[in-house]
Symmetry: C2
Subunit: 190 residues, 2 copies
Amino acid sequence: MVRAGLTTERLVRAGAELADEVGFDQVTASALARRFDVKVASLYSHLKNSQDLRTRIALLALEELADRAAEALAGRSGKDALGAFADVYRDYARTHPGRYAAARHPLDPETAAGSAGVRIAQLTRAILRGYDLTEPDQTHAVRLLGSVFHGYVSLESAGGFSHSAPDSQESWTRILDALDSLLRNWPAHP
Amino acid sequence: MVRAGLTTERLVRAGAELADEVGFDQVTASALARRFDVKVASLYSHLKNSQDLRTRIALLALEELADRAAEALAGRSGKDALGAFADVYRDYARTHPGRYAAARHPLDPETAAGSAGVRIAQLTRAILRGYDLTEPDQTHAVRLLGSVFHGYVSLESAGGFSHSAPDSQESWTRILDALDSLLRNWPAHP
DNA sequence: GGAACTTCCTAAAGGCTTTAGGCAAATGGG
DNA sequence: CCCATTTGCCTAAAGCCTTTAGGAAGTTCC
């Protein structure tokens, strides 16, 4: 009997690839076992269960996203940083739709607190250093940016903006202009 | 043999309730059959398949959301309209999480084109009548609003903003202030 | 009352998940 | 080097979900 050399790590990575190919919710232990030419039960030595697999793929995706965002932000500030961060998000979602869906997978609070999601939030906050916002407006702005990036990318990937003018790239650019303008002129509390 | 009185309509409505109770992706033909005290195979006279069920629940949710949005917008304009529409979205997501998830379910283009999603887009555009935007900026703004509403609500429901100050309601209010301000001062194309 | 239709049923096949228990391959101490 | 232990993958089996096929009991309407 030749061993397949399964490890949790390899399974999760293959799971992420599978997600990009067939969609995150089509990632099953069965499909993964087929990919390694191994019986399904064999995976259960490396993964707690099917949910565990999905959670680990989500964590991997968050790490990748955080890494890319960190690299994109290095040496940039203000609108430049805003645009770079936004593009990382959008590109990741476009090139790795399954992983991106995974990154949006709900995690229980402790898992989320230990994930790279925290790093992403910190990076988002770092963008705002180029603007003149103090607490609590800074937090409101962090939440706004998170909402816009996530919302836009997810509507776009659901096909919301295709087949209609103007094209999505143009809206994206103009929305980033608008956000930059908003952050520079954040309204005072009424 | 007493008949259960199944119809596609009743199944879809019960499916929507089930979604709110156990989550949209836990809605299965089996669970629905149990709820009607009927054998699973019986559902297949009323539903094409499991995917058909989910699609119909999605369409129902979009209708409900559009109805509520239309009612909220009646007689309002400007920031008032913006806030009312936004609150409909958020309240719907909070009170009907499963239905809201259903409303975000990807539909194929023809189905989407015939859905109440179109009406929601029109209503979003109607909000902008209270602001001084011309095309293509109006479309960019429609996309921005859709992104923020969807993004915020979905991050909130995933628990993104809980357990941290300031509380979500405050951010929501201030984000709406900010969006209102942005729409009144939409930046000219550079 | 009976023909035609509709509703729901039983039966069955196929897929995914998960646990239990077993044999074989790798590892490493004597 | 060899034997014991650990580890990796297997077979088997049970449970649940989906979907199709075909049949029997209600309902409708002439």
